[in-house]
């Protein structure tokens, strides 16, 4: 058991930090610390330009093999990159989905043609992706997908019809991967296909969803005979669920330590306010600040265990609790921020509804325990997969 990084890894850390220091300045100075969750709709053009700068430095897709322009970075190096990126105030990554979801999916399941067509533009920071899983009727019950894909028998082209929802930044993206039903008589996770679809086409309509924060990062995406070429289905028709589930296992938590660094910045801000406005004398606030600090450290060492686990991509027990842990912690932090501020928390600083950072934190963290699998779904997964407890019978409630 060893908690320190090797000298070679520390040297890598220095290299990352130096590069960020030299590049995240001048025209990119304004986007430091911007574009994170709750702020993803801001500085989009600047952040796309930043992706190209990252690509010039070989800092996109660092986990990819060198053949495809990556660095084949080890888990440790990826962790270090995310930590240093967060420490430097690196903006929310526009290329995140392409880098960590589309890319690894294509590397694992894609054809050579798909790799050659889609990987280089992701690597170069010029193509941006969004994900099309959830539907109005398929939220927690993801397999209840109704969007359908029909293949033209002569051309082989697919036509997709249906609706996806909660598609982050679809209006700023070039492509979306879509899980759709290829067999009309199929149900649940059978008979699905995994499609790579261009967003800029007549069959696709994108409508932003205004959130409780007044901002709009999420969208509804409507497909009305949207076209997808025969060679742009990943895996065989019917293998969509397998591809989609494989994708969920790819991230392996390398970004968790970077995420925690942003959480630390938020907690530091709350502590600073508590000290200055006297809330730090309230015994309950003191307990909760300590609890938040301990929780953040717990997350760090949970992550370290997760990252030190098997290389086979199987989810360890630590990995299964991670989402439930951080989302609950973050939601509590949002409430702690409001309680530390007291009545001041209500005041809006500017604009008709321009919320400050902590107000956004408070409101947006209510989404944390819902997206990516609600806390209730997470608990089901833990109980069923880690503890071997039986599934609840499906079917209509009585």
């Amino acid at each position: 058991m060893k908690l320190t990084f090797t000298a070679a890894d520390e040297q890598f850390r220095e290299e990352v930090a130096d590069w960020l220091n030299d590049n995240l300045r001048d025209e990119f100075a304004d986007i430091r610390y911007r574009g994170g969750p709750g702020d993803e709709h801001r500085f989009v053009d600047e952040r796309k330009a930043w992706e190209r700068r990252l690509a010039d430095g070989r800092w996109t897709c660092i986990g990819w093999p060198e053949t495809w322009g990556g660095r084949a970075a080890s888990i440790e190096q990826q962790v270090i990159f995310h930590e240093e990126y967060a420490r430097a105030g690196g903006p929310g990554r526009m290329g995140h989905i392409g880098d960590t979801l589309t890319g690894p999916t294509l590397l694992a399941f894609g054809s050579e043609q798909q790799k050659a067509k889609y990987l280089p533009p992701i690597r170069d920071g010029v193509a941006f992706w969004s994900q099309g899983y959830s539907e109005p009727g398929a939220g927690s019950d993801l397999a209840a997908i109704r969007t359908k894909a029909v293949q033209d028998e002569t051309s082989g082209q697919w036509k997709i019809t249906g609706q996806k929802v909660w598609t982050s930044l679809a209006h700023e993206s070039d492509f979306v991967f879509v899980l759709a039903r290829v067999d009309r008589d199929s149900s649940r996770h059978h008979g699905l296909g995994f499609f790579l679809v261009a967003l800029d086409q007549p069959g696709v309509t994108i409508r932003p969803i205004t959130q409780l924060t007044g901002t709009a990062e999420f969208n509804e995406v409507y497909f009305d005979d949207a076209v997808c070429d025969a060679e742009d289905i990943v895996g065989a028709p019917g293998d969509g669920w397998k591809v989609a589930m494989g994708l969920l296992g790819f991230e392996r938590g390398v970004s968790t330590l970077g995420q925690q660094m942003l959480f630390q910045t938020e907690l530091d801000e709350i502590i600073r306010i508590a000290k200055s406005n006297g809330a730090s004398r309230d015994p309950d606030i003191r307990q909760r600040i300590a609890e938040a600090h301990i929780g953040l450290k717990t997350m760090r060492y949970n992550s370290m265990r997760m990252l030190s686990g098997g290389e086979d991509g199987s989810l360890s027990r630590e990995a299964m609790i991670y989402k439930l842990y951080w989302s609950s912690w973050h939601r509590n932090l949002g409430k702690l921020a409001m309680d530390v501020l007291g009545p001041e928390a209500e005041l809006i600083e500017s604009g008709p509804y321009e919320l400050n950072k902590l107000q956004s934190l408070f409101l947006f963290t209510r989404a944390d325990t819902i997206y990516g699998g609600t806390n209730q779904i997470q608990r089901n997964l833990i109980a069923e997969r880690a503890l071997g407890m039986p599934k609840e019978p499906r079917g209509p409630g009585k």
Binding site: F5, D9, S280, P283, A290, I382, A383, A386, P390
Partner: protein
């Protein structure tokens, strides 16, 4: 960076669990608790002779194994899982205190006799966060030094061949002495406790005369404070074991128990409780092994005392909560049988309660962290 067990550590874990599954059974624990010795002396003997757990933290030059705190945590976690009723904690705690003492012949003698299986207990005071309430004084008379006062909650004090005693001297500094429980002026009383798996004693000193060769450390305030932090980490290991076993036996029970024509383990109300229990125990386990690594780093001079104390406060707060939450939730998951003597969950519940505030309440641990964050330094 590899925050996972080495092959040797994994093997130690497997053998510890297997040994205790065989020896520290539900029946054996109950027999040990009700025996006149308050523990199974034959089991302690086989631990000392076959497993050598008493020697884990004892340096090799005094006949110990010279292993690290991760290894100690592994074994104590297994002990908590099986409600082991033995002086292992008392011996590990005494070892931690002695290793921190200045080198002396007496110190090495004590360590090697512990390696040979002698039980020693640390009489620290009244076990609260602050050490201003040490109950024993060391005062000079014209001819000698005498100890007076009372130390409470001394683990396995009634079974100790030697007692390590923290006393406050005339200059208000803490000192550490070794005392023979048989010597004049020393009175050891077993203390009946709600949790019978971790028996305690009260030790009273009435003008007990001590000589200079019994003095292990003077100006020992830092030593005592560090020993307290280390003792918390030892306790955390036990709590993680208790939390894990509470989860395991409750889930097993829920899978067996059928109501409304279904196993109750298929109800989300039960599953979600179990998931929360797993989250608690895995989190406490992460902080336990972080704390164990921190002790090793501290002993190697790689981190400072503040890091050690912070790790102990955090791990203790988290593991105390986890053990109590899991054991309490475990009773609820058992339903009616959970409150019977027959089922083991009640034994875990009692052990979780006993360890929860043994070396300071979780709220005190959090306040110590809050003080560090909002006011200044820890320790």
């Amino acid at each position: 960076m590899k925050f996972a067990f080495t092959d040797e550590q994994q093997m130690l874990r497997d053998t510890s669990q297997a040994f205790l599954a065989n020896k520290s059974t539900s029946v054996a624990v109950r027999q040990a608790c009700s025996s006149p010795e308050r523990h199974d002396t034959a089991l302690w003997q086989s631990i000392c002779e076959e497993m050598y757990w008493q020697g884990i933290l004892i340096p090799e030059h005094v006949d110990g194994l010279g292993l690290g705190w991760v290894e100690m945590a592994i074994v104590l976690e297994a002990a908590g899982e099986r409600l082991l009723t033995s002086p292992l904690f008392a011996v590990a705690q005494s070892t931690a205190a002695l290793v921190g003492c200045p080198a002396s012949e007496m110190r090495d003698l004590l360590l090697s006799s512990m390696a040979a299986g002698k039980v020693m207990s640390l009489a620290m005071g009244n076990q609260s966060v602050g050490w201003d309430s040490v109950g024993v004084t060391a005062s000079e008379t014209s001819t000698t030094t005498v100890l007076s006062g009372e130390a409470r909650f001394v683990p396995f004090g009634f079974a100790a061949a030697k007692l390590l005693v923290v006393a406050r001297d005339a200059s208000n500094a803490l000192t550490l002495w070794v005392v023979d429980p048989q010597q004049d002026g020393v009175f050891v009383e077993p203390t009946p406790t709600m949790d019978q798996t971790r028996p305690m004693a009260t030790v009273r000193f009435e003008q007990a005369a001590v000589t200079s060769d019994q003095l292990l450390a003077s100006h020992a305030d830092e030593l005592v404070s560090d020993t307290l932090a280390l003792s918390r980490i030892l306790t955390v290991a036990d709590q993680v074991g208790v939390a894990q076993a509470s989860l395991d036996i409750s889930v097993d029970y829920a899978k067996e128990r059928s109501q409304f024509d279904r196993t109750i383990a298929s109800f989300q109300a039960i599953k979600h409780k179990a998931a929360d229990m797993m989250l608690k125990v895995e989190s406490a386990r992460s902080l336990l092994y972080y704390a164990a690594c921190t002790v090793d780093a501290w002993l190697a001079g790689e981190v400072d005392r503040a890091a050690l104390h912070e790790a102990a406060f955090m791990a203790s707060a988290c593991a105390s909560d986890a053990a109590f939450f899991n054991a309490g939730s475990g009773i609820q998951m058992h339903g009616g049988v959970g409150i019977t003597e027959e089922y083991d969950i009640q034994l875990y519940f009692k052990r979780a309660r006993a360890t929860e505030s043994y070396l300071g309440r979780p709220s005190e641990m959090r306040e110590a962290i809050a003080y560090q964050l909002l006011e200044g330094d820890v320790a």
